[in-house]
C-alpha cells in the first residue's frame, strides 16, 4: 500500500511541452481516476508514474520512496494496458506467472499466487489457453491477473475498457471496483469517459492540456465545478451554458445550469422556449429546447411530450446556478 506524490513535475517531448508543471498527491488506498479529453496528457502522466516515460523535471515518489531513475519493475507498480499487451506465445498461466518466473520465485509459491489470481478473476478454466483463444473481456481479466500476482502497491490502468463493447464495459467496471474493495490497494485509472470516472472513482483528477483543472470526489466535481471546463466536462448531458447579458449582470461571463435543475412548463416566469426534439430514455426524458437565451437541454417527465409545439417557459431552479468568470467559479446568486 502506498500513496503517489508528484511535485513540480514537468514533461516535454522535444520542444513540445505536454505537462507544464504539476503537483498532485494520490492518497494511499484511493481509487483515483485521471480524466480529460484526448491528448491532455493522461497516459503520459501514468507512464511517468510507471517509469515507462521519464519526467523532464520534478519529483515523483511512491510510498514515500523517490523512484526517479528506478526501473518500472522496481517501483511497486503494476500496469494494465489499453491493448491488454498479453504475450501471445504464452498460455494464460504463463502470462500471469511471467513476472514471478523472471524473479525466480519458488514454483510452489508461483502456483499458489497464480491460482489465487485466477480464483479472484474466474480464470481457472482458461489457464491453459492462449490469448487468441479468449474473448476481449477474458483477455482484459488476464491482463489484470498479471498485475495482481505481483502484489503491487499501486495499480495503474490506462483506459483498460475502451476496447470492450458497452455491456461488457459495464460488467468489467463493476469487477474492477470489486477488486479495489477486496484488495484496498491504491489504483490510478485513466479514462477519457466521464461516466466511467463518475461511477468508479472515489477521487477524480480532471486534466486539460496537461494541467489539473480540479481534484475532488465525483459529487464535489458535479456539484461545485471550480472551472468552466470541469462544469462542461462532468455530467451527461452536458451542463447548459448561457453567455452575454445575463451572466454579466451577475458579475460573471458564463452562467451554467444542469439539465435536471431546470423546469419546463406553461408558466409565465422564465425564458420563452419551444421544444424542438425529445430524447426518450425511458427513465428520463431530455427535451432539447430553443429558448430566447439559446439552445438548452432540460430533464423532464415523459408527459412533456404533450407540450411539443406550444409556447413554453424554461427556468432554473433556485440555488442551482453556476457562475464563472474568466473560466473560474465565482459566487452566484440564489435566483436570477
Amino acid at each position: 500500500m502506498a500513496d503517489v506524490e508528484i511535485k513540480k513535475l514537468t514533461k516535454s517531448f522535444g520542444t513540445v511541452e505536454v505537462i507544464p508543471e504539476m503537483d498532485l498527491v494520490i492518497p494511499d488506498g484511493s481509487f483515483t481516476v485521471l480524466v480529460g479529453p484526448s491528448g491532455c496528457g493522461k497516459s503520459t502522466l501514468l507512464r511517468m508514474i510507471a517509469g515507462l516515460e521519464l519526467q523532464t523535471s520534478g519529483d515523483l515518489s511512491i510510498g514515500g520512496v523517490d523512484v526517479r531513475g528506478r526501473d518500472p519493475s522496481d517501483r511497486g507498480i503494476a500496469m494494465v494496458f489499453q491493448s491488454y499487451a498479453l504475450y501471445p506465445h504464452m498460455t494464460v498461466r504463463e502470462n500471469i506467472s511471467f513476472a514471478l518466473r523472471l524473479a525466480k520465485a519458488d514454483p510452489a509459491e508461483i502456483e499458489a499466487r497464480v491460482q489465487n489470481a485466477a480464483d479472484i478473476l474466474q480464470l481457472t478454466p482458461l489457464l491453459d489457453r492462449r490469448p487468441k483463444q479468449l474473448s476481449g473481456g477474458q483477455r482484459q481479466r488476464v491482463a489484470i491477473g498479471r498485475a495482481i500476482v505481483r502484489n503491487p502497491e499501486v495499480f495503474l490502468f490506462d483506459e483498460p475498457l475502451s476496447n470492450l463493447d458497452a455491456a461488457l464495459r459495464v460488467q468489467m467496471r463493476v469487477e474492477i471496483m470489486e477488486l479495489h474493495e477486496r484488495l484496498k490497494t491504491t489504483m490510478v485509472y485513466v479514462t477519457h469517459d466521464q461516466v466511467e470516472a463518475m461511477t468508479m472513482a472515489d477521487r477524480i483528477v480532471v486534466l486539460n492540456e496537461g494541467r489539473i483543472e480540479q481534484v475532488g470526489s465525483p459529487l464535489e466535481l458535479y456539484d461545485t465545478p471550480q472551472t468552466a471546463f470541469v462544469a462542461g466536462f462532468i455530467g451527461s448531458p452536458k451542463m447548459n451554458f448561457v453567455r452575454g447579458d445575463i451572466p454579466e449582470r451577475l458579475g460573471g461571463d458564463l452562467l451554467g445550469v444542469r439539465p435536471e435543475h431546470m423546469t419546463l412548463g406553461e408558466g409565465d416566469t422564465g425564458w420563452t422556449a419551444r421544444i424542438h426534439l425529445l430524447e426518450q430514455l425511458g427513465s428520463d426524458t431530455f427535451a432539447h429546447v430553443d429558448s430566447e437565451v439559446g439552445p438548452l437541454i432540460v430533464r423532464c417527465h415523459r408527459e412533456v411530450a404533450e407540450l411539443v409545439g406550444r409556447d413554453l417557459r424554461v427556468a432554473a431552479k433556485p440555488g442551482m446556478l453556476h457562475l464563472f468568470k474568466d473560466g473560474r467559479r465565482t459566487d452566484a446568486p440564489e435566483t436570477l
Binding site: 518500472p72 519493475s73 503494476a78 491493448s83 491488454y84 476481449g136
Partner: protein
Amino acid sequence: MKPAEKLFAYVVATVFIVFLVAPVVWLLSTSFKGQLDIFAKPPVLIGDFTLENYREVLTDRRFMGSFLNSVIISSLTVVFSMLLALPAAYGLSRLRSPAKIPLLSWVLLVRAAPGMIYVIPYFMVFNEIGLIDTRLGLVLINTVFTAPLAIWILISFFDGIPYEIEEAARVDGATRFQAFTKVAIPMAAPGIASAAILVFIFSWNEFLFALTLTRFEAKTAAIAILNYMGYAGTEWGKIAAAGILILLPVAIFAIGIRKYFVQTAAGGVKG
C-alpha cells in the same frame, strides 16, 4: 473478379507454371531413364524405368562429400547470419533515430551489389589467410550476403510487435535483453523461420563463390555436378539424378515456408 479477369489470371499463372515446372519434370524423367532413352527420338517422358543413375550418384564418394559440404556450409551460414541478423534487426526496428533509414539502405546496398565485385578481393584475402577451399571461408562469405536479407525480413516482423507488449514485459521485471529473448524472439518466430529457410536456400544454391573459392575439399554439391561433364562426354542421367537430390531440400523447405508466410503473430493485442 469478373470471369474475363479470372480467365486471364489463370492463363498467366498456367504459362508461368509451365515454364517453371517443365525443366523440373524433364530433369525428374531423365533421372529415371537409361542412356538410350535419354536421347530417344522422338523424346519419351517415361522410358524404361531405372534407378541406376541414383545408385551411381549415391555411391559416388566425391559427390556425396560435396553434398555433405553443402549441408554443413548452409546450416552454419544459417546459424551465423541469424546470430548477426536477430540483434541487428531488433535494434534497427526499435531505433528511433533519423539515422534509421540511411542505415537500412546501407544494409540493402551490400545485398544489391553484384557478387562478381567481391570475388577478386575475397579471393586474394582468403588466399593470404588460408581460407581458400575451406568450409569456413564459404560460410563467412555466404553470411555477408545472407545477413542483410535476413535483417530485412526480420525487421518487418519485429516492427509488427507492439511496443506495449515489451513495456508490459519491462513492468513485469524483464531486462531489455530478456524482453528481446523471451518476448520479441518467440513472437517473431514465424519470421525467424522464414528468414532461416531463405538463408539456407540462398547458401545451398550459391554458385559463384563456391566455384571460385573452392577446389576439392570444400566443394559444394551445386559445383560437384560439373564433375559429370567430363572430356569423355556428359553423363546426363547422373546430372539429372544429382540435380533432383540437390533440389530435394529446397523443395521441402519451400513447402514448409508457405505456412510461416501466412501465419501472423496475432492474439496478444486486441482483435
